[in-house]
Amino acid sequence: MSDASAPVVHQHAAPSKFIWKYVFSTDHKVIGKQYYGLALVSVFIGMMLSWLMRFHLVWTNAAIPGLQLLSKNGAPGGVMTPEYYLSLLTMHGTLMVFFVLTNAPFAGFGNYFLPIQIGAEDMAFPRFNMMSFWVTLVGFLVLIAAFFIPDGPPISGWTAYAPLSAVGKDAGPGLAWGQNLWAISIGLFCVGQLLGSLNFIATTLDLRTKGMTLSRLPISTWAWFITSCIGLLAFAVLLPACVLLILDRVAGTSFFIPAGLVISDHLQPHSGGSPLLWQHLFWFFGHPEVYIAIVPAIGIVSHILMASMRKPLLSVKVVYGSMITIGFLSYMVWGHHMFLSGMNPFSALVFSFPTLIITIPATIITMIWIGSIYGANLRFHTPSLFSLGFISVFVAGGVSGFFLAQPSLDIYLHGTYFVVGHFHFVMGVAAIFGILAGSYFWFPKMTGRMMNDTWGKVHFWFTFIGVYCIFMPFHYLGFAGNVRRYSSFVDDYLQPLLPVHKFITIAALITGAAQFIFLFNLIYSRFKGAPASDNPWDATSLEWSTTSPPPFDNFGGRHMVVRHGPNEYGVNGAHGDFIMQDSPEPEPAGD
């Protein structure tokens, strides 16, 4: 299958001791699985936090059995206090955005598959790669430690606006050591991501195998590459923000805290700082971050769709261009999180314009997907179902963006459940669908076994219908002006909305429970799943040209030579309606 005349090169021998093989491994495949495992733990913790939150919103004064074991102060007798609700909210957001949505699609799948898809034996800097995972893991542990300190996790949200997050314990529970742990955790996370981005970029530029030109990179590799460029510059700004926050908190500086603040009857000993500075720094990172969460999913879904439709997309180059445009524009729109923040109102219009424009490349990508289905031979298995579902939920999340991009509508919708509905659809649903599609698709390659497709389909149906039941009503609540981040609903105008919240909570509990179908499928199939062939999906990219799972050096000593693009589907191949990238067949004649 590969060029037999190329020299067989063993770069290094596989380690044999457990600690070097599985713990401090420099093998990108192990590191990818470690990141994925960390994301899996994080998502289940995050999901259970959301159950606690949703339960409390509807049955506010009820005791949740056992909750007092998690926090004596936060839930005396099992009844959640308002501050503990905010702690859970903060940890939910922080875990999900950082440790799930940045870890799984990018660090997880990217680490595992980028080197293989470009025909390399490993990442460019394997030791930095190992360090990046371990720094991230330590960051995770530091964050989780906040649950176990007496004062609990911080209550300032994943956005940690100053001065609430900067002044310390006067402003509320959890804002002393809880907030410190948060800031340290996120700072460490930044370092891990920067090391990761470094690896992805250098590897993609320099370690492509013979014949793997940039235009022959699979779309998922393009997506990881673009994401790492976005992430490099974004995390390089969040890290300074965390440094400044920590200094304000422990060193008495005043980067974010102005003079004259009286909190808990104490006049705060700071002056001259600017709360808006935190918001600018945070959102300059925060907006590109959401594209870091979605672009890998766009790449993964596109990759899977082509294999599922048995045809290439109408134009992958247009999708590349759109992804790059989105990446570029993502740096110009951060102020749309700050329309009502007190910044110059003229700036609002300036930020609104690129925010509206960014819709265009996103729509182009969506319409390319939909248009590509015309004339397809769609195979319906779990990966393709989640990929098609992705299109649906991406549209749902995208259209609510139209409203929020306009400052005049933001006057009414800001701070309401409409915003929560929007970002959950694009991140909490669409990006997760990308992760799930990738999981079902690549599980056979990573483990040598197939996941059970029947149970996968059951998981899909519960999840797809469930997420619409949970998150579509958030928009209705937003139109009614239901404010977000409230631990309970006491205002008069909110009372008629309580039945909606009850519906959402029940839907969330059921949909959440369905995720355990996926977890059990994952674990069971790992040990008892049907054996997988090298290429169960009849796909073309280089990962399918090696064994399932791949050997230590990815290709068993072969030096891969690439002769075809990644999207040769719907052609007259020697083995079917496709041609693999390293196949010695000639290019199909004509079109």
């Binding site: 206090t81 308002p82 905010l86 209550i155 606006y161 001065p163 402003a171 529970p173 004259g260 603040l261 909190i263 009857d265 709360p275 808006l276 045809k311 109408l314 247009v318 009502l340 007190g342 003229f346 609002a348 219009l349 509206l356 265009i360 729509t363 182009i364 390319i368 939909i370 248009g371 015309y374 004339g375 031979n377 769609l378 195979r379 319906f380 649906s392 549209v395 749902a396 259209v399 139209f402 306009q406 400052p407 005049s408 509508l409 006057i411 009414y412 309401t416 389909k457 009503p473 209705y476 002006g481 404010v483 981040r485 609903f489 006491v490 205002d491 909305l497 719907g570 007259n572 309606d577």
Partner: protein, 265 residues
């Protein structure tokens, strides 16, 4: 499976759209002079995005239903017009939508933020703190006295840190826990935060504005209907955030003057 997905997509699209079309849960009545511009913009955006959402789901459903693998060996084919058609359609459709929304939307924003408050606007200072709003009126002398953070004393209800003993202007200042205003008269709020970030939101007035510690932010509006409305905080400010609320009471001019006189006593 494809047909099933198609049916579910159609049902989801319809189910999502129905509560919106029927305004089952919707914005309350607008009681401001500028709100109609926001409401108009909202309806325009709703129509355009609603059509986009439903159309996308229906087209996706149709194609998914039609183009399943029939396992008859035929090769996949491309949409006539290809990527070019799609890109042009996306740019034209979304581009015009975006331009329209952006160009017309700025007027509603400008009405609230670029227009200067009229000279006769009634100035009222609003202070947001953990966890309540307090309002200060200038009193007959028309001047608000200076605030001294070190003099703030919640226990003695000195929320603004006033020093009437030494500051003449503070002596006739009226402090209230409710925002009481006359109908059909422009109001100029001066928004001040005592401790952390908060936000001021009155749904019926179609206004919302963050309080930023260290800044004093002006905001003006005119209420057009007498009544009692909730003011809620929309910026996470601590454990009492959910409970941070005050009431806006819009009174007739006579009732307002009466109330003002009562407060002065």
């Amino acid at each position: 499976m494809g047909k099933l997905l198609a049916v579910v997509l159609v049902l989801i699209a319809i189910a999502s759209a129905v509560p919106i079309l029927m305004h089952t849960w919707w914005m309350p009545e607008d009681i401001s002079t500028h709100g109609h511009m926001i409401d108009h913009q909202m309806s325009e955006t709703m129509a355009e995005s609603g059509i986009a959402f439903v159309a996308a789901q229906l087209v996706l459903a149709t194609l998914v239903g039609m183009f399943g693998d029939k396992k008859d060996g035929r090769k996949a084919k491309h949409l006539p017009g290809g990527a070019r058609l799609v890109v042009i359609a996306a740019v034209v459709l979304v581009g015009t939508e975006v331009l329209a929304l952006g160009v017309f939307g700025k007027d509603a924003w400008a009405e609230v933020y670029f227009k200067k408050p009229p000279a006769d606007a009634l100035p009222i200072q609003v202070q947001a703190e953990q966890f309540g709003f307090y309002f200060r009126y200038a009193g007959p002398d028309g001047k608000l006295g200076p605030m001294h953070p070190d003099k703030i004393d919640e226990g003695n209800q000195n929320f603004f840190g006033l020093d009437p003993a030494n500051d003449v202007d503070s002596r006739d200042d009226i402090v209230s826990a409710s925002l009481v205003i006359p109908v059909n008269k422009p109001i100029l709020l001066m928004m001040h935060a005592k401790d952390v970030g908060h936000s001021f939101y009155v749904r019926e007035l179609r206004i919302q504005q963050d309080f930023v510690p260290g800044l004093d932010i002006p905001m003006h509006f005119t209420a057009t209907k007498v009544g009692r409305y909730e003011i809620v905080c929309t910026q996470l400010c601590g454990l009492g955030h959910f409970n941070m609320r005050a009431f806006l009471e819009v009174k007739s001019q006579d009732d307002f003057e009466q109330w003002l006189k009562q407060q002065s006593q």
